[in-house]
């Protein structure tokens, strides 16, 4: 991308214009610039002069940026309501993925361990084959969910060139929720009744060991989620101001 448009893109993104609208704006500006340049060349200017004249006719960077930034309707929700985008929405999304994990576990319990009192381990010894794959995949999904959600909001923050404050709050909440989530499963007392699965969040166990385990788990999630964002920031810092 040409330098003036690169600067304009960074400016618009930092001002909170959604990446989709920035992309479209810059595409149309680039097309317009090509038309202007062709017109100037037809008028007999050299290529370099035509380029300069076309840039002047297109408008100064301040004007181009201001015209788009003033259209409040193109502002991203990350700027309008960062608390919702980086705290509320990821927590709701994570709660949703945990709900899916519970349903997945319940089906596995019903299909592969119909007689067991709990889906955590088979009463007849280790599982093999598809049952093993099924439960391992569920475990991977359960433990990977907070990391994936964290990466998601990190990507949003990076695309929008946002400062790290709201992202950090969001990642800490995700790490806390991921570290303190507990699944409980029990068979109901009614003979032939269905198993019961529930979850609770944001509570650490009473014992010191449980607290330190929870904190360690939170730290692992936080590190994994924040790492790609930090790498991106460092790369940006090397290639120019963020």
């Amino acid at each position: 991308m040409a330098k003036p448009f690169h600067e304009l893109r960074e400016r618009l993104l930092r001002a909170g214009v959604t990446p989709r609208h920035v992309r479209r704006y810059l595409t149309e500006l680039a097309d317009h610039l090509a038309d202007l340049r062709a017109e100037e060349e037809r008028a007999g200017r050299s290529r370099a002069d035509a380029e300069s004249a076309a840039l002047v006719r297109l408008g100064g960077m301040d004007d181009l940026a201001k015209a788009m930034i003033e259209q409040r309707q193109f502002q991203s929700w990350c700027v309008r309501a960062p608390w919702a985008m980086f705290c509320l929405a990821p927590l709701c999304l994570l709660a949703g993925t945990y709900f899916v994990a519970c349903v997945y576990l319940w089906f596995g319990w019903k299909i592969f361990l119909p007689g067991a009192d709990t889906p955590f381990g088979s009463p007849t010894g280790p599982m093999y084959g598809f049952a093993n794959i099924y439960f391992q995949a569920g475990k991977l999904y359960y433990f990977g969910a907070p990391v994936l959600v964290g990466w998601g909001i990190g990507l949003i923050a990076a695309r929008q060139r946002l400062k790290a404050v709201w992202l950090t709050v969001g990642l800490v909440l995700i790490a806390w929720m991921g570290a303190t989530s507990r699944i409980h499963a029990s068979r109901t007392a009614v003979p032939g009744g269905l198993g019961h699965i529930s979850m609770n969040f944001f509570t650490l166990g009473a014992s010191g060991q449980a607290i330190s385990d929870g904190l360690l788990h939170a730290l692992v999630i936080l590190t994994l989620t924040v790492l790609p964002y930090l790498i991106w920031r460092l790369q940006k810092a090397h290639s120019g101001p963020v």
């Binding site: 609208h21 479209r24 704006y25 149309e28 500006l29 097309d31 317009h32 038309d35 202007l36 006719r57 297109l58 408008g59 100064g60 004007d63 181009l64 015209a67 788009m68 003033e70 259209q71 309707q73 193109f74």
Partner: protein
């Protein structure tokens, strides 16, 4: 005290008015729109050419314009055209602008209490 309607910026809504009027006749892409404004107003109204796009995008988002991508001479262009909602908006803007012009003209040519400016 009742709020008084003011008209802080006489050029407010003019780019929208011009764009909607031009696009009502035929669909155009950004470069064509700017050239048409310049030629049909004898270059009296000249805008920074790039700033036409935020206005177009805003009108499209409001439902006054629709856009479609079209390949012309091997290049992909985004063509804009007016919707029914856009036509209504054009009528409203035209009426408001005509009233404003009549009022200013009346003032400049004397009106009830003034005298015509030579």
């Amino acid at each position: 005290m009742a709020a008084r309607e003011t008209n802080p910026n006489f050029m407010n809504g003019v780019p929208e008015l011009l764009i909607l009027r031009l696009l009502q006749q035929e669909e155009m892409y950004g470069y064509e729109i700017v050239q048409a404004i310049r030629s049909r107003t004898d270059a009296v109204i000249a805008v920074g050419e790039g700033v036409v796009y935020p206005v177009l995008h805003g009108l499209e988002r409001d439902g006054a314009l629709r856009s479609r991508r079209k390949k012309v001479n091997g290049r992909s262009r985004i063509y804009y055209s007016v919707t029914v909602k856009g036509s209504h908006r054009l009528d409203d803007l035209s009426e408001a602008w005509t009233n404003l012009v009549v009022a200013i003209q009346k003032l400049l040519t004397g009106g009830q209490h003034g005298e015509a400016i030579p």
